[in-house]
Amino acid sequence: MPYTKHRRLVSSAVAVALGATALAACGSSSDDGEAQSGPVSLTYWTWAPGMDKVVDLWNKGPGRKEQITVTVKKQASGDTLVTKILTAHKAGKAPDLVQAEYQALPTLVSNDALADIADSVDDVKGEFAEGVWQQTTLGTDAVYAVPQDIGPMMFYYREDLFEEYGLSVPATWEEFAETARKLKKAAPDKDLTTFSANDSGLFAGLAQQAGARWWTTSGDKWKVGINDDATKKVAEFWGGLVKEGAVDNQPMYTPAWNKALNTGKQIAWVSAVWAPGTLTTAAPDTKGKWAMAPLPQWNEGESSTGSWGGSSTAVTTDSGNKEAAAEFAAWLNTDADALNALAKESGIYPASTSAQLSGAFTSPPEYFSHQPDFYEKAAEIARTTAPSAWGPNVNVAYTTFKDAFGAAAKNRSDFAAALDAMQQDTVADLKKQGFGVAE
C-alpha cells in the first residue's frame, strides 16, 4: 500500500504511543459465544485510511439488517500491527477482525491467532485469482483470511526522457541492464533507477517473478529456499548493476529520492500498481510524463510478475462471533459497493478480479490521465502474478535483507553473499524456535 511507505519514518516513534490504544481497544470484543442471537458488535483493526467510511456502508446496510455492527480502530501499518495482534492475542483479547499483509499470515497462524473461516467464505473463492487465494490457505484446507488488495509489480518510466536519450522500454531484464548502461553513457549524472535495500517487499516480489519459492513445506518440516537459483539470479543481476555503477545504490523514500524522481535524475522505477499514489507526492512536477509498462521478463516472450504489498482481512481465534466476522470480511472484499468505496476512500487496488475493471477503475489514476488504459493493463498484468510462498518468520528474513543488502549496496560488494546471510539467519531462527527444518 502506498500509505505504508511514507509512514515508516514516524511509525517507530508512534509505536509506543499506540501501545496505549491497544489496551483501550481490548475490552470491546463481545463474548456472546458462537450462537448468533441478538445484536453482535465486532472490532476491526486496520490501517487503511478512510476505512471507517466503508464500514459505515455495512453498518447502515447489510449490517443493520443482521444486527452486526463493526467498529474500526485505526492502527499503524504492517509489521507493527502484527506484533500488536500477537501481544493482544497472548492476553486473549485480540479484536474480531484484523488487516494483515499476506506475508504475515503464516506468522499469525503459527501463533494460533487466526481462525479457520473456510466454511463461511468458501463461496467467494471464485472472486479471486488462484495465486492470490492460495496465499490465504497456506497450502492447507483451511482458509485464514479474505484477500483485500494486491500489488502486482510494474515498470514505470519517464516517457519523455526515454525518448530524449533514445531508450526503448526494456522487455527483458537483459535489455533493462543495457538500458541502464546506455543511459549512464549518455548522461553520467543520471541513473535509470536505484537498488534500494530499505523495502524487503520489492526484492521478494522480484524473486517471486523469477520463480523463487522461499518457504515450502515437506511433511512436518519447513524448507527454506531463499538462496535458491531463481533468487540468486535476481540478486546477482542487481548486484552486478550496482557494482558497475549502472544504477544508484541509495535507499528509496528519502527526500533525496523524491528529488531524484522529481528532477529526472532517476528516470524509471520498478514498482507496483500503487505507484501513482507515491509518485503524486514524491514527484509532483513530473505529472503526465510517466508511463507504465509490464515488468521486464527473464526470458523473452514470458509474461510474469511479482507482487509488492497487498493485504487481507482475517478473523482472530479470540473472536466470539467468528461467523459474523467472516461474513463481514467476505462482504467487505467482494461486494461491489464496498469495493468501490474502498477504492475511493482507501485508494486500494482490489484483489477481487471483477472489481479491477469496474467502478473507480474504469478511468486511469489522475497522475496517469494520459494513459487511458492504465487499469486495463494493470488487470492484465495482475493475472500474470507468479505464486508466492511465505513462511512463519518472514520478519527475520526481511530484517536480515535490510541489513545485509543495505551493507552490500553501500559497499558495492557481492549480493550473493548477502543472500546467503539471509538464508542462514532465517534457517537459524526457525531452528532456534524449534520448527522442523528440512535441509
Binding site: 506484533t83 503464516p106 535507499p251 523514500y253 512463519p392 530484517t399 543495505g406
Partner: protein
Amino acid sequence: MKSSARRTSYGVKGAPYAFLIPASLLFLLFFALPIGYAVWLSFRKVQVSGLGLGTGAREEVWAGLENYTGALSDSELLGGALRVLGYGCIVVPVMLGLALLFALMLDSEKVRLAPFTRLAIFLPYAVPGVVAALLWGFLYLPDVSPFHFVLDRFGLPQPDLLDGGPLYLALSNIAVWGGTGFNMVVIYTALRAIPAEVYEAAKLDGATPLQIALRIKIPMVAPSLVLTFFFSIIATLQVFNEPTTLKPLTNSVSTTWSPLMKVYQDAFGNGDIHAAAAQATLIALAALVLSFGFLRAANRRNKQEGRTAR
C-alpha cells in the same frame, strides 16, 4: 485511632513504616515488578513443534541461561556496543567540554546579552530528539543539503556525512547540539552558587580571569561535572532516537546499530520478547556497573582531596 492510649506507643513505633508504605508500594508496583517480570521473561523461551501451524504448536518453556549466552555471543550486540562506545567517546567529551566552556563564558564579567545567549544555547534541548534527528538528517543528505549546495558552489569536496567515519560525527553532532544547553545550565547554576568573596580574594591575590576559571571555578563545580558526566554516560548507552530516525535515509545504519535498537528489533521486529528481555537486562547491568563504578571513583577522589587539603 484518636483517643487511645495504645496509639502513642504503637503509633510512634509504626509511624516510619506507615510513612514508607506509599513509596514502597509505588516502587514495587511500577519499578520492581516490571523489572522482575522482564528478568523472568529473559529466562524463558517459546518452543515450536513441527510446522508450527494450528493450535498448541507453541508453548512457553524454561530456557535457563540460553537467552543470555545467546546475547553475549551475538556479534551484532557486541558490534552495537562497540559502535556506541565510539559514539560516546565523541559525544561525552565534546558536549561536556562545550557546556563547561559556555558556562564559564556566561559567568565571566564581560559578558553581554547573557540571558538571551543562555536561552539560545539551551533552546535545542527543548526540541524533541526525533524532530532534531529528522532536521539534521535532511541537512546531511547530499542531494537536499544546503551545506553540500554551498560546498558545490565553491568547488570544494563534499563528504558523505551518512557513511563510515563521518556518520559517527553526524550522529554525535545531533546529540551535542541537543544536549549541550542542558548540561551548560547545570554547570552554570553551580557557578552562580560560588560566593563572591572567593573571587574577591583571588583578585586581591592577583589572579587573572583565566586563572580564576581554571583554579577556582572548575574545581568548585566539579560535583556538577560529575553529575553531568553521569547523565551523559547513561544517555549514550541508551542512544536510540537518532540512529533510528536516520536509518531510513542511509544504508549505513543497520536495524541493530545500537544495543537498544537490537532489543527493539528482537522484541517488535522478530517477535522474540525473551531474547530482547535478556539483552535489556544485560544493558541495564552494564549501565549500573558503569555509572556506579564512575560515581564511586569520583567519590573516592573527592574524599582523598578533602583529606590532603586538611
